[in-house]
């Protein structure tokens, strides 16, 4: 797992409101049982729990839109970040090696299907052992009916499609629970299929009311086709260049890779050999460092006016000024001059090629 994914998982957990997983799982079970008390039909209850999960997740996503703006906008990438979706929805990290992917080739389609397998499902953990586990999966005769994780599946699908929606993607993901431990199968398995907007519209046109046989009422959620065009904020501008997958690539890329990219840019844009370019700065390395600093500030301003906007506020400007002054004065107390000089030399030798 990449560093940024790991960090985002931690951030998601920090902002979430946690309880023990057992309370979560038992509350989930009770919601299913209450639905079943109304429908009196196990297959309908599964369909409705899934829909309730979808509504609950969409509501939550709409409250925290900014978090999802950092996610990648390609449906394939969203599926590759399935573990992160799982943490967003469930808040519980998967054990190492618990999740596996299988890409299933799909003829004539831009995207393949994906089979995601999770070895140990927390929702099914110990299901059937206690007297209160009264929802009976044996009463379900239709093999295509999902299992206990149907509500969670609905949540995962909603989060995935919410990301694609705010990233203005034309594609949507359909996630279906194919195997369930509580139904006696060996593991939890999801089938993820990617559809274009037309196919998705057709798929979502089937009303829940038409899927259920028990005649209970259910308020259908209406999916908005188009994201309202609003004024772009700082995050919108930044995430165009810094979405999660791009940051991940940048961090994973070895120093040599970055070096060759810098060299490419110099050759391409300045029509100069890198060593000739850096020759201009020989004996002026300190100035070069300052230029890099100015460029960094300029870049941050270009992509969203981050620094300019922050420093417009007098209090923030004072705090930034104070911190900068303190940093300059006290840096040597905390970091030895040798270490600073080492990093200085390292940067210069990197720039020298």
């Amino acid at each position: 797992m990449g560093a940024v994914q790991w960090l985002l998982k931690k951030i998601t957990k920090v902002f979430g409101r946690n309880t023990t997983s057992l309370f979560y799982v038992l509350l989930y079970r009770e919601i299913l049982k209450e639905i079943n008390n109304i429908t009196k039909d196990e297959e309908d209850s599964i369909v409705i729990l899934r829909e309730i999960g979808k509504k609950a997740a969409t509501e939550s996503c709409e409250r925290h839109t900014t978090v999802f703006k950092w996610m990648p906008g390609s449906p394939r990438k969203v599926i590759e970040y399935f573990e992160l979706l799982w943490v967003v929805v469930f808040g519980k990290e998967l054990e190492e090696g618990d999740l596996t992917y299988e890409e299933l080739p799909k003829e004539g389609s831009k995207y393949n299907d994906y089979l995601v397998t999770i070895k140990s499902c927390p929702l099914c953990a110990g299901y059937g052992v206690d007297d209160e586990d009264t929802f009976n999966f044996k009463k379900i005769s239709n093999q295509d009916t999902e299992g206990l994780a149907c509500g969670l599946t609905g949540m995962l699908e909603s989060v995935a499609n919410f990301i694609l929606k705010i990233k203005r993607s034309d594609y949507r993901i359909n996630i279906v629970e194919q195997k369930c431990l509580a139904k006696g199968e060996e593991h939890l398995q999801f089938m993820c299929k990617i559809y274009d907007s037309l196919e998705w519209k057709e798929l979502s046109s089937v009303r829940i009311q038409d899927k259920i046989k028990s005649g209970v009422k259910f308020e259908e959620s209406i999916e908005e086709d188009v994201v309202q065009e609003t004024k772009l904020d700082i995050i919108d501008k930044l995430q165009e260049v810094l979405s999660l997958d791009k940051i991940e690539e940048l961090l994973d890329e070895p120093l040599e890779g970055i070096k060759s990219k810098v060299a490419e840019i110099i050759e391409d844009k300045l029509n100069m050999e890198p060593e000739h370019f850096f020759d201009y700065f020989r004996n002026y390395e300190d100035d070069l460092l300052r230029i890099i600093g100015y460029l960094a500030v300029h870049l941050l301003n270009e992509y969203g006016g981050l620094i300019e906007k922050t420093l417009k506020n007098t209090t923030f400007a004072k705090i930034a000024g104070y911190l900068f002054k303190q940093l300059r004065e006290f840096v040597l107390l905390f970091i030895p001059i040798d270490v600073i000089n080492d990093y200085h030399q390292l940067l210069i030798s990197f720039l020298d090629g």
Binding site: N18, I31, I52, K55, G91, P122
Partner: protein, 166 residues
Amino acid sequence: MNLTRDDLTQSDATMNQMRNMVYHLERFMKINGVTETRDNLKRMGRNIARTYVKYWKPIDSINLSNVRDAITTIYKHILNSTVSIEIDKLNKTITVRDNDCSLCKYNLDDIDVAGCEIIAAMVSEIITLINKEKSLLTLEPFDILESRTFGHKSCIQSFKYKEEGV
């Protein structure tokens, strides 16, 4: 290796979306003409408690002298909430204030029953089950005096207690 419910008492899950599910369940009950929503939520809480005590309990017996600690531990361990508790010995009531209720966060105008009815029922049932056959103290959820679902700053759950043999 498959997970067990014992394992689940040792790990955390995020309630954000599950909290929303409780209120969507209430809405589903409402449009289907269910009138006893409060009783249903209490039943859910009792059922959660009945399963939960098989895997974890704060202490082996609870009386009036340690009930404050027991309730604090239940809220802390299960719900990750730090609560303040007042015991009114005259009216035999216990009031619990939770500033960060896991089932109530946003003011919801269309909702009549607070999600923390589930919590109040669960907590009282856990205590009653622990004291089963011990004739010490039983607890019953009495009322949700305030809830963030109704726009209050915190959730206040009140309980009636009964000391056996008194």
